[in-house]
Symmetry: C2
Subunit: 135 residues, 2 copies
């Protein structure tokens, strides 16, 4: 096992989702609009993100449990226990959230996005354009 | 800016790609097959990954430069300088690689995947199933 690497957040999520009880399982299952609020230090990295862009947002799910290796998918005991690498559980060794969203509005360092299921205050790690074929 | 978080690799990539000169820009542009080699500590997390699975592999691009905020996309000076959050440049504040691949073979903790463009030895951070619509 190699040594660890440091994630340095580049911003955070503003959302009306405050806890697990209020959160949909996936963004396309009815997440409210949310805002990405970027740190001024990465303004240059964000400058070409425009409304309408289809992007992957990577977050650090800071309320996740990292010692969980298998779960009942969707927290439903009727689903058989499954290794977390075959699920989208937030509980996993490295709880990086992967969210495919559409950018709705851009106001400087603040961007409104559609379809982001993350708690208010979740750190943002990265943004990447979606390539052909959803890659 | 909040404090950092620690990525703890769960395995690494075995690939014939040894350096930037030999690497395609994206996995679907002719990357050779590669192997994911998982740490025994996460065996339970990997146990339900089967051949044919379409997954996102997240890596830590440990040879990337983290202080780069804008680049000429695809290293081509003819492309205008673009903020890295609108590109798939490996050089970015948090160099998490996002690779959509198909699992070809599984042998315990070793899995052969198709379409992974990462250097030999690149740390693996996470694996997630691809959901409907490439999410």
């Amino acid at each position: 096992m190699t040594t660890g690497y440091e994630i340095r957040p580049v911003g955070y999520v503003e959302s009306t989702i405050k806890d697990r009880a209020g959160a949909p399982k996936q963004g396309f299952e009815g997440a409210p609009d949310a805002w990405l609020v970027f740190d001024a230090a990465v303004a240059e990295a964000t400058r070409d993100i425009l409304p309408g862009a289809d992007v992957f947002v990577l977050t650090w799910l800071d309320r996740a449990e990292r010692d969980v290796l298998a779960v009942h998918p969707r927290d439903d005991p009727a689903n058989p226990v499954t290794g977390v690498f075959s699920t989208r559980s937030q509980d996993r060794p490295n709880p990086v959230g992967l969210h495919r969203v559409t950018v709705a509005e851009v106001h400087g360092l603040r961007m409104r996005v559609q379809g982001l299921e993350a708690f208010d205050g979740t750190p943002v790690v990265d943004v990447k354009p979606v390539l052909d074929g959803g890659r």
